[in-house]
Symmetry: C2
């Protein structure tokens, strides 16, 4: 069976690795952080995924060269803000056998506002550009690792890549749908984390189920509005990578972005809230890019803008929510 | 101020009546059930809405003639299956002053599959047909009655009616958006109750957040597919009356349809489950119409069909969910 290297041994990466190992693939993990790698080698599990055990045949290392020489499939599961440097490092050691490169990271790079597959296309040579796919959809690792039924989306402009990637991930409890709109899939997957922070703030302020649903509806409209301006398809936002992922991230107790918003609403300083969650809160980094993109494309994003003001300009949460909810009466 | 008669003194009717009274309208309630009317006259509140008190100036009666003679605005908040007979009764006594007729009921009539405004158009004379509107959106009475911020939709084909109805309901905590697509608004408001039963079943079987989000995504697609075939606009399903109301009904602890599904999944007989909830579970009646409409219009609704089979053909919930989740791999 094919050799797969996973870059990043966080919850999602480890979950995917365990799933693919069970399907018979040869699995390697690369982890940047030596301490984390050592701990994973020793314990073979993560604190947040107590049900999961990585088999001893799965290799975990901080040495990219050794891992990548023979790899046929590469899966990125690193935080979005270190995606580009990881891609650059990986490229140096990438062997001849590589046939598929998949991003399982959801976010937008700061400053450039790039999607993850855009970074790959920018950094990787011509012969690799048509081997790229993105994995998205409502898929909390806590549940996938316990084999709860889950449906995900694999996106690529290349039909062959789609078919190949679909077969790799497919399993009895994981349904994999294909999508040609990689722009929409990646953009929605990044943006929803920002709106999950808004949902968390609504939870923290006890605004109730009605206004949380209204907020989610408006969030979806915002995502779609800006998404279309950058080339995404409208219909993608109605699918698993759009509304599906948005709903799970806004409503699940597993969602760190939602949880972060809740802590903020309860008066916690953002640094302390990030620390308390102890894992990367992608929406915290994405909100800046989202607002920047909106300005470039001349699109209004009232909710994202309020989240930015709360997190970076110390605007009061309550005031933000009041401002959002009291915008003038009008047609939908 | 104008005289409003509310037909039906259930949770939603009573909530709307209290809100409109506070805005200065003269409010009358008509309640079919004498015992319920007497209790409401005495207690001035409903068990499920302990925070709410109806002012003594609000009249509650079972005598339609007396109430309707001077009414200028009529609001229907009766269950969908008694909507037509209520409309027929009301028509007999309707005075000359009537200028607006609003349906706040969400459902489809059995056998005819009619939306509530369709029933009104069928039963009412020509001069009243252009005074009709429908109220919808994510608005659990338990929260609106406590003045939690809420956003609703008022729908009508008539611009003047829209503006008038928007002004009637608007209040500092209730934002009212207008929508010209009354077909989409009413159809979505009815269909979502069926899909909330599906969500409840997923909850009852502990299928997890990932599959619940996938189920909601597919539910929205089903609603939209059939909705478009009966003349609804696609975009309506992305709005408050579509995804907004669907989300709140699938996720809120206040939702009786969700709760009903949960009880069914836990093995309760449907009659006992209906009894335990003690209020009308609209989705239970709507599922039949939904499946009938789907057959007439030649649209596939896998989720609604499974709910029908569970409720009326004794199909096992677990088997239904497995069948839904194991449909063949394909593009979104």
């Amino acid at each position: 069976m094919k050799k797969i290297t996973l870059l990043g041994a966080g919850c999602w990466g480890v979950t995917l690795g365990a799933l693919l190992f069970k399907k018979g693939y040869s699995i390697n993990f690369w982890e940047y952080d030596e301490k984390k790698a050592e701990e994973l080698i020793k314990k073979r599990t993560l604190k947040r995924l107590p049900h999961l055990k990585l088999d001893k045949e799965i290799k975990i290392s901080t040495d990219l060269e050794e891992l990548l020489r023979e790899s046929e499939i590469l899966i990125f599961a690193v935080p979005s803000q270190v995606f580009r440097e990881t891609a650059k490092k990986a490229l140096i050691h990438l062997g001849e056998k590589i046939e598929l490169i998949i991003s399982a990271t959801k976010g937008l790079e700061r400053k450039t506002c790039s999607r993850m597959s855009e970074i790959l296309k920018k950094e990787f040579p011509e012969n690799l550009k048509n081997k790229i796919a993105a994995l998205s959809g409502p898929s909390h690792a806590e549940e996938v690792s316990q084999e709860f039924p889950t449906a995900v989306v694999i996106a690529s402009e290349n039909e062959e890549v789609l078919t190949q990637a679909q077969k790799i991930f497919f399993s009895p409890f994981l349904r994999v749908y294909t999508q040609k709109d990689i722009i929409g899939v990646e953009f929605a997957g990044a943006a929803k984390n920002v709106y999950a922070i808004a949902s968390g703030i609504s939870d923290g302020l006890n605004l109730g189920d009605n206004s949380k649903a209204a907020l989610l509806t408006r969030s979806l409209a915002e995502m779609q509005r800006l998404g279309e301006k950058i080339g995404a398809k409208k219909s993608t936002f109605l699918g698993l990578a759009g509304v599906g992922d948005l709903v799970v991230t806004c409503y699940s107790r597993h969602s760190r972005n939602r949880q972060f918003g809740e802590l903020i609403a309860k008066g916690k300083e953002k640094e302390k809230a990030l620390q308390e969650i102890g894992m990367v809160v992608e929406g915290f980094y994405t909100v800046e890019s989202l607002c920047q993109l909106a300005e470039e494309k001349n699109v209004e994003l009232p909710i994202a803008k309020e989240i930015y003001q709360i997190l970076f300009l110390k605007k009061d949460c309550r005031l933000s929510m009041r401002d959002l909810l009291s915008r003038e009466m009008r047609a939908e």
